[in-house]
């Protein structure tokens, strides 16, 4: 378990722009979705990703389009990182026919195979075994694609997670277990639910490489994930990465989070990924105020447009109720 050294030299102009745009899109869409939920216009359990922007941006940088991802309910950043179009995501949040899952999945269930976004689960820890299966598929195909599964720190308390890690290590599967450690499982801080809070260490015990990295540090995370993905692609088996962040908002879009210690939150806010990256662009990457403003304005516009389009899209028609239950629609004699 090594924390890689920070390396800022590798980001060219295009990469900086991609990363800043992804972080900003995530932050803006997340903020707006929470406002919408609080105002009662978005009738969805929306799980904010604030705090994870750097981890998601780094993930997006190191994955190939044909790599696959299994995510969770806290999926906005993952989906954007994998390339899922924001309008499809937001329409799904609003349960619209134009959503990525025709409005039948909702905020917790995004699926988009063209970008390798294979599934998301609302059941804590359940994605890990499914990612293992996708990893086995890649291995059987003799493909060098990598399968990533993202999950929270709390998910490592679930049996399925441990079964999956054991199996992946046993069969040397090309799976990246990316723990987005935001220190909280709903209302419970990590120290109150885990005997050992060193999750990477636990994973290492299964016989796989495991790293712990500062998930607020884009460069450290980028380097760590890049190394992990290269290792996996080279056929060395699964890697566990524990990216240390903090949950900057409530558990859901509408949840109260006054229980979060104010000093901890304030310290974490100092490290808010998108604003920090903006400062770095200005101070160390030679960007001008105009440069960052240009990205910000176009991102804001895109997010606004996507929300408007989602809100104005039609709901699925009643005929959709019985489709997609089975491959061929079946008569169940229910409404004869």
């Amino acid at each position: 378990m090594t924390a890689p050294a920070t390396n800022t030299a590798e980001l060219d102009r295009a990469a900086c722009e991609r990363i800043y745009e992804l972080m900003l899109t995530t932050q803006l869409a997340d903020d707006t979705a929470r406002e919408e939920a609080k105002a009662g216009r978005l009738q969805a359990a929306f799980y904010p990703v604030r705090g994870l922007e750097a981890v998601c941006a780094a993930l997006g940088e190191v994955l190939r389009p044909d790599d696959q991802l299994v995510s969770t309910y806290r999926n906005l950043g993952d989906a954007l990182a994998k390339g899922m179009p924001l309008p499809l995501i937001l329409a799904e949040l609003y349960g619209r026919a134009t959503g990525v899952s025709k409005g039948k999945g909702g905020a917790m269930h995004l699926h988009h195979t063209p970008t390798g976004f294979m599934t998301t689960t609302g059941i804590v820890g359940s994605g890990l075994p499914i990612a293992v299966g996708l990893g086995l598929g890649a291995q059987l195909d003799a493909s060098d694609r990598v399968v990533v599964t993202t999950f929270g720190d709390g998910a490592t308390s679930i049996g399925a997670a441990h079964e999956a890690m054991n199996l992946a290590a046993l069969w040397k599967l090309p799976v990246l277990f990316l723990c987005q450690n935001n220190q909280w499982g709903e209302h419970t801080p990590i120290a109150e639910y885990a005997g050992s809070t060193d999750l990477a260490n636990r994973a290492a015990a299964y016989g796989m490489t495991a790293h712990r990295v500062d998930g607020f540090d884009l460069f450290a995370t980028l380097q760590c994930l890049r190394g992990a993905v290269e290792d996996i692609r080279a056929g060395h088996g699964p890697v566990f990465v524990e990216a240390m962040t903090y949950r900057l908002t409530g558990h859901t879009g509408t949840a109260d989070f006054s229980y979060v210690p104010a000093d901890e939150l304030a310290a974490a806010m100092q490290r808010d990924p998108a604003p920090n990256f903006r400062s770095w662009l200005l101070q160390s990457a030679g960007w001008s105020e105009d440069d960052v403003r240009a990205v910000k304005e176009r991102t804001e516009q895109a997010v606004r447009d996507a929300f408007t389009a989602a809100q104005e899209s039609p709901l699925p028609g009643p005929e959709e109720l019985y489709t997609d239950v089975f491959a061929t629609d079946l008569v169940t004699w229910e409404d004869r």
Binding site: H111, T121, G135, N166, L167, D324, V325, F326
Partner: protein
């Protein structure tokens, strides 16, 4: 790749075999036809070839990369099958005993059964989960018939054969079906009776019941292990001048109510028999459906004979399963009240 079933009426070579051997032959044919068919489960590789020997010889023939013995990890077995199916494979996962499916319930009920719908059709999970059930010789945690739980869950097909021929044909259909399928193997029928089973790729379509015996006085509806019991009861009843029609459902989802309604329209009396718990069991839905559709035709209430509402007892002095007497007295009470 999906194979076409043999044309109806085509001459097929057959061989006498038990259901266990017939299921092995279905898996063998499927693996030979399509290298995307992958088996997963505890102890399924040779030399043991599965604790019930259903996969015997297959790892030697197709390699341990395709017949994969797993750790004791039911959630991982089913979850891995789901992921594999998303990667374009046709996984067949073995859960040693039906009871252990409770450990993997999340993966089956929340994931396999729901993915097609939740994704708007984008990521279906066409897996087959094979499991065994049967008898009481293992006690209450190794004998439960839990099929009603899965019939109650939209998105998964439920199949339970009653004889070696169907065991082969239905299993092959499950493997190549585009939906998740739960295939339930009853241990009594897996080893005792032999039948002439077609060799090669043989399919029995899902969702089609079989009329095992025609009759005009009442319809006995059953599936799986009670099929033999019910056929024997029909024989006895015939000796008393009561002609019972016997329907083997074969598939519980999709449920072939067409065949059931057609029969009950003629016989005007029906009894559903199964080894699953009678209270809230599959028979409850079938009886309700018949009553709703054919109320005006019926000459009496639709009766059910299922397991008593107890855990499956171990002692041979106790049984909660339907007995021949219970089936016969239900039939007599209905026809000669």
């Amino acid at each position: 790749m999906t194979l076409a079933p043999p044309a109806p009426g085509a001459e097929t070579a057959t061989e006498e075999m038990t259901a266990a051997v017939a299921m092995n032959s279905a898996l063998d044919a499927a693996m030979a036809a399509d290298d995307k068919v992958i088996l997963l489960g505890e102890d399924i590789a040779d030399p043991i070839g599965g604790v019930f020997k259903v996969t015997k010889g297959l790892s030697s023939k197709y390699g341990t990369h395709r017949v994969r013995a797993t750790p004791i990890s039911e959630q991982a077995i089913v979850g891995t099958a789901i992921g594999l199916s998303m990667a374009g494979y046709r996984p067949v996962a073995e859960i040693m005993f039906f009871d252990f499916i409770t450990v993997a319930m999340d993966q089956i009920v929340n994931h396999a059964a729901k993915l097609r719908y939740m994704s708007g059709g984008v990521t279906p999970a066409p897996i087959t989960v094979r499991t065994s059930v049967g008898g009481s010789r293992f006690g209450a945690q190794h004998s439960q018939s839990l099929e009603a739980w899965f019939m109650h869950t939209p998105g998964i097909k439920v199949v339970m054969p009653s004889n070696p021929i169907d065991a082969k044909g239905l299993l092959a259909s499950c493997v190549f079906d585009d939906d998740p399928c739960l295939f339930i193997e009853h241990l009594n029928l897996a080893y005792s009776n032999k039948a002439a089973v077609p060799l090669g790729d043989y399919r029995v379509p899902l969702g089609k019941a079989a009329v095992l015996r025609p009759g005009r006085d009442l319809t006995l509806i059953t599936y799986g292990p009670t099929t033999g019991l019910v056929s024997a009861a029909a024989e006895t009843l015939a000796g008393e001048g009561i002609e019972a029609e016997v329907i083997d459902l074969r598939t519980l989802m999709p449920l072939d109510l067409e065949t059931v309604f057609d029969s009950v329209t003629r016989t005007r009396r029906a009894i559903v028999v199964h080894e699953a718990t009678q209270f809230l069991g599959p028979g409850a839905e079938i009886a309700a459906q018949i009553t709703e559709q054919l109320f005006g035709e019926l000459l009496g209430p639709v009766l059910r004979v299922g397991a008593r509402f107890t855990p499956v007892p171990f002692s041979s002095g106790l049984t909660n399963f339907p007995t021949p007497d219970r089936i016969l007295s239900a039939a007599r009470s209905l026809v000669r009240p």
